[in-house]
């Protein structure tokens, strides 16, 4: 179906940008759409990469790997060079990369990575995702030399342009030219340089453009207005730009926060134990906040600290700390961090109660901006919810087990109440009448004794079954699997049953060369005994057919009777403990098939009831032929 070209991989170029998650998703979707493998690549541009960027990249790479990408890293002086190298090396069919909007038009005209890649003549399809939010995050903190030169150049260009404008009455035309220049400078190099440029524009205009030229012309009153206007416009533009920039930063941070919360939430959702939750939480906090964190759980008078070694110095006792955290709760913010010794503690409060305490080293979080604090609190909520989910899950499980035990106990009591008491009452009655003073006729005496024997056998059988089932279900029975012929257990089961019930009409159909199978002879004999005895009880005197065959993986066995059959609705329930078909006669307590099922399960096999064509029930058994059959003895016959 696929053309060979489709098997070429899709390459996704990742940087430390906040929208890397979108790149990853785009790459993943594209790869899935074209059913091609995909590679998450990172171009290492030498030692310039900041440490936190490197860590952030690690997070993205891991996320990509989770979605099925292979990871590649290449060192190259420029992004384009590295990507070109990667595309060639992997013969990639498509390259997904992001482009930030802060690239200036001249970058778009020829210097963007995408364009450069195209110039390099790659036959790789380029998928460029625009970053919708990101703007230059450079702050106008300091004015460096290159910025100054740049600003001067812009002003020179503006002045040059203004020079071309006819002299007389030119202010209205010159003003926009300078305004454009100042605005550009403010935008590109920051606010301070913008103000400086505005002042310089006035001076330049006054000295160079106003007639008479090269004179101080401050006494021209329109120049004063020009100066004020310029300053005001520059301030306005700078203010606007600053706000825009701040918004962009907020958006970028928010996106990063959302992404890290999302990653934490998903990692926590996969954690199944308290240890795993603690490890996941600590790992994510370390990555996002560069801080060591641990979860504290009250345990009696002390704390359990997860993960890792317990650092308990200066930690107040659980009641003390929890009360102090709860006080913060009363103040309105349940997540108010509390400085405790060298660390800061946050209450992990879920829906209804505290699940524990998050402890995080203070020096790492001290300088955090308020918004990052919010993220930390959001982390705490996520962790608390994960812990709560775990607790509820455990409670639900426990309740279920308890219900099951309760139900079992009542059925067991019900069954024992009836099935044990009846034979006991008969035995007790028969024995006491035998002990009555006076002659008992010989025939009566024999009848009573025979009844005692029969009923006690029934009791023994019932108790034996109960015991067997309990032992099987509790795992106390060890299945001793040995490779052996089915014929052998079949023989012993039939022999045993016929000694008890007399000759049975059982038709056995075994292939001449039935392979050996691994099973526990005593347990499988029990299964056959139960099935054959059942068949005999429900269809006395009617032929039972027994068939066996094997394929390479399974030994199949069918026991088919001509009894009344099992209604469809009960075909699974007949294997339940104490289940008896409605309307079934006396005898049997509904344990036989439950034992069969338990034994088959202990073997890794299956048993099910099916309707038999022409009436009756077929029990289909399958035993797995695990492992290697033993070598046959030399010489054979």
């Amino acid at each position: 179906m696929d053309t060979p070209a489709d098997s070429r991989p899709i390459l996704v170029a990742l940087g430390s940008e906040a929208h890397a998650l979108r790149l990853i998703q785009a790459g993943f979707l594209l790869a899935r759409e074209r059913s091609a493998p995909w590679i998450a690549a990172f171009v290492d541009r030498g030692p310039g990469t900041a440490a936190e960027d490197a860590e952030q990249i690690q997070v993205w790479l891991q996320e990509a790997q989770r979605l099925g990408a292979t990871l590649q890293r290449v060192e190259a002086p420029t992004l384009a060079q590295g990507l070109a190298e990667l595309c060639r090396r992997n013969r990639a069919q498509a390259l997904v990369l992001g482009r930030s909007r802060d690239r200036w038009p001249w970058a778009r005209l020829g210097h963007s990575t995408a364009d450069e890649l195209q110039r390099r003549g790659l036959d790789t399809e380029l998928v460029v995702l625009e970053d919708r939010h990101e703007l230059s995050a450079q702050d106008g903190g300091s004015i460096d030399f290159s910025a100054m030169v740049g600003a001067l150049l812009v002003l020179a260009a503006a002045t040059g342009l203004a020079w071309l404008v006819p002299r007389e009455g030119s202010l209205a035309l010159v003003l926009p030219v300078y305004l454009l220049g100042v605005t550009f400078i403010s935008h590109r190099w920051g606010a301070r340089l913008g103000v400086l440029a505005a002042v310089m524009s006035v001076l330049l205009y006054n000295f160079l453009l106003e007639t008479p030229r090269f004179q101080r012309a401050a006494n021209h009153w329109p120049n004063l207005l020009f100066f004020l206007l310029m300053l005001f416009a520059a301030q306005l533009v700078v203010g606007l730009l600053r706000r825009l920039r701040q918004q962009a930063q907020v958006v970028k941070r928010r996106e990063l926060h959302t992404a890290s919360l999302y990653l934490l939430g998903r990692a926590l959702a996969r954690s199944l134990t308290r240890e795993e939750i603690a490890r996941t939480a600590a790992e994510h906090i370390r990555r996002v906040f560069k801080a060591e964190a641990a979860l504290l759980f009250p345990e009696g008078e002390g704390w359990t600290v997860l993960p890792g070694p317990a650092v308990l110095e200066g930690l107040p006792s659980p009641p003390d700390l929890l009360v102090r955290l709860a006080e913060g709760e009363r103040l309105g913010d349940p997540l108010e961090p509390l400085p405790v010794g060298e660390a800061t503690c946050l209450s992990l409060t879920g829906t209804d109660r505290s699940e524990g305490v998050l402890r995080i080293s203070t020096e790492a979080v001290q300088g955090l901006p308020p918004r990052t604090w919010e993220l930390l609190k959001a982390f705490a909520v996520q962790i608390a919810l994960a812990l709560e989910r775990l607790r509820w899950l455990e409670e639900a499980r426990r309740a279920q087990v308890q219900n099951e035990t309760e139900r079992m106990r009542s059925t067991l009591l019900g069954a024992i109440g009836h099935d044990l008491r009846t034979p006991l009452a008969a035995i007790h009655g028969a024995a006491s009448s035998l002990l009555l003073p006076g002659e008992v006729p010989e025939s009566t005496r024999r009848d009573l004794l025979a009844m005692i024997q029969d009923e006690s056998e029934r009791l023994a059988h019932l108790l034996g079954n109960l015991l067997d089932l309990t032992r099987l279900e509790s795992g106390a029975v060890q299945v001793q699997k040995e490779w052996q012929p089915l014929e052998e257990v079949l023989g012993s089961a039939l022999g045993r049953l016929e000694r008890r019930l007399g000759a049975l009409p059982v038709e056995v159909e075994l292939p001449e060369q039935l392979a050996l199978a691994p099973f526990d002879a005593a347990l499988l004999e029990q299964v056959l005994l139960n099935l054959l005895a059942n068949a005999q009880r429900h269809a006395p005197g009617k032929a039972v057919s027994l068939r066996a065959w094997s394929d390479h993986a399974w030994l199949h066995l069918e026991v088919a009777d001509r009894g009344p059959g099992i209604p469809e609705a009960f075909r699974e329930r007949v294997f339940d403990k104490f289940f008896r078909l409605p309307g079934a006669g006396e005898g049997g307590v509904g344990l036989g098939l439950a034992i069969c099922k338990a034994i088959m399960q202990a073997h890794g096999g299956t048993i099910e009831a099916q309707e038999r064509a022409g009436g009756g029930t077929t029990f289909c058994l399958a035993l797995p032929m695990d492992g290697l059959p033993p070598v046959a003895p030399e010489g054979g016959l």
Partner: protein, 235 residues
């Protein structure tokens, strides 16, 4: 010996109440012990002809009692085992016990096993030269096997297996014992050899190999040759 002396080592009162009259009613002499220590002391002082040993004793493991007994006596020991002692049962047989009875058992079964166990205890291990199980006849002297009067041709291995069973005179033989006797030392692990040969043997001597009446299987324990005097022998 007219009245064989049986030592019953059993800690449960109801079983003793059932066993003692049953055995004395069959003109056996019976000695009773409720603990292993008492049982061992009685065994030393009275040297009984047969020991009926319960595996679950309060003071000492039944296996330890057996080992101690076997240290000085070759007299037959029949094990009484409860339902959850299957493994101990096989270990006891391998350690030299002669037979076992799984609780609950009936009087007829008990007496039949005791007769088998006592039969070849005196004189020691000399089997009868000719054994019959229904229509199957095994002559250990002339090494002839016939089924319903027709001679059966057996391979050397099959004959050795049948012979090993026959020499046990109706007692159960564990897998380990048969493997050691037929395949020699080192063959103990290859239980499936035994099963394959048993299958082949059955196809030759049993009228219906799916319902053996001469060579009986004791699941997870071993095999037994169903000799005539015990039970009705359907063949």
């Amino acid at each position: 010996m007219n009245q064989p002396l049986i030592l019953l080592i059993e800690d449960e009162e109801p079983l003793r109440r059932f066993l003692v009259p049953t055995l004395t009613g069959q003109s056996y002499q019976v000695l009773c012990a409720a603990t292993a220590t008492e049982g061992l002391a009685l065994a030393r002082s009275h040297n009984p002809d047969l020991v009926l040993l319960d595996l679950g004793l309060p003071d000492l493991d039944g296996m330890a009692v057996l080992r101690e007994l076997r240290a000085w006596s070759r007299k037959p020991v029949v094990i009484l085992s409860a339902r959850n002692q299957e493994k101990d049962k096989v270990r006891a047989l391998d350690l030299g016990a002669d037979d076992y009875l799984a609780k609950p058992f009936g009087a007829a079964e008990l007496l039949a096993r005791l007769r088998v166990a006592l039969r070849h205890s005196i004189p020691a291990e000399v089997p009868r030269p000719v054994l019959t199980s229904g229509s199957l006849r095994v002559d250990l002297e002339s090494r002839e096997v016939t089924q319903a009067g027709v001679p059966v041709k057996l391979s050397a291995m099959e004959y050795r297996l049948l012979e090993a069973l026959a020499r046990r005179n109706g007692k159960v033989a564990t897998h380990a014992q048969l493997l050691a006797e037929v395949w020699g030392p080192g063959g103990e692990g290859n239980t499936h050899y035994l099963r394959i040969y048993m299958g082949m043997l059955r196809r030759k001597v049993e009228p219906d190999s799916a319902r053996p009446c001469h060579l009986l299987t004791e699941p997870n324990v071993g095999y037994r040759l169903n000799l005539d005097r015990e039970g009705p022998g359907p063949g």
